[in-house]
Symmetry: C2
Subunit: 138 residues, 2 copies
DNA sequence: AGAGATTTGTACGTATGTATG
DNA sequence: TCATACATACGTACAAATCTC
């Protein structure tokens, strides 16, 4: 098993994030599955709880996991994706949501928004985890 | 001046983030301008440095500020935006970059990527802070 | 070049509160 | 009711990058 190298230049919390990211990538941790608790991870890897929390915060910011208070941290399950069509004259950008957008759309950490500027001047904001943009071929 | 309410339900670091976000929104803090140091903020608002860091981390995750080690935290300056055209049959999604994508594109915290699936099967990844997607009207 | 001050990064500890099961 | 788990907030200490003199 891969462990933490206290002699490495790489920060301990980054090493732990690498390990957990790898377990998600390899399928050892499946979508919906819970990670060990912060306390358990701290004990298993010989780290302070703060260091474990830094690692989990990093993975949340990447959109890889979601943490629920009192429950635990879980590998994110992909959302059902809706197709949104773009037409000639439309444009869009991607950015992180404002706190208000996060609330109103119910977005997790590590989820951007797509902001569409329609040719008619109207504006749309879509959650990045549940939206695919498509041109033509409707 | 707006201060921190230790009696409030809202977490202290969120209150501080609200204050700083407001100063950016109002223009009191201009793009490129540095925020007070963590130590200064902690002293001014009567908070622990850890709490100040939580607030700054939140603002970074929103793409509002960028922190440079040894220098300070600065209001993000908008990047020069390149226009990328979509054609019929193309599609795209937005998500947070992998660590590798962040490195290779030189992306800050709080900056998503746009992943374009071209009709010919090819794939493109663009930094969300420097890209506008457009359909037609080139 | 070098020394010292400033600033952020990392890592630990403790304590308490709140949500969940 | 009780145990578990995450959230918040304080403290300390040292490392590393930057800046100034």
């Amino acid at each position: 098993m891969i462990m933490i190298d206290h002699g490495s230049d790489r920060a301990l919390y980054r090493q732990l994030a690498d390990i957990l990211r790898g377990k998600v990538a390899s399928g050892e941790l499946q979508p919906g599955q819970s990670l060990p608790s912060e306390g358990t991870l701290a004990q298993e890897y010989g780290l302070g709880r703060d260091t474990v929390r830094d690692a989990l915060a990093l993975l949340r910011s990447e959109g890889l996991v979601a943490t629920e208070r009192g429950k635990g941290t879980f590998v994110r399950v992909p959302e059902t994706v809706a197709i949104v069509s773009l037409k000639s004259g439309d444009s869009l950008v991607a950015r992180m949501p404002t706190p208000e957008e996060r609330r109103s759309l119910g977005l997790n950490d590590g989820v951007p928004v797509l902001v569409i500027d329609r040719a008619n001047g109207k504006n749309e904001v879509h959650g990045g985890d549940r939206t695919r943009i498509q041109v033509g071929r409707r």
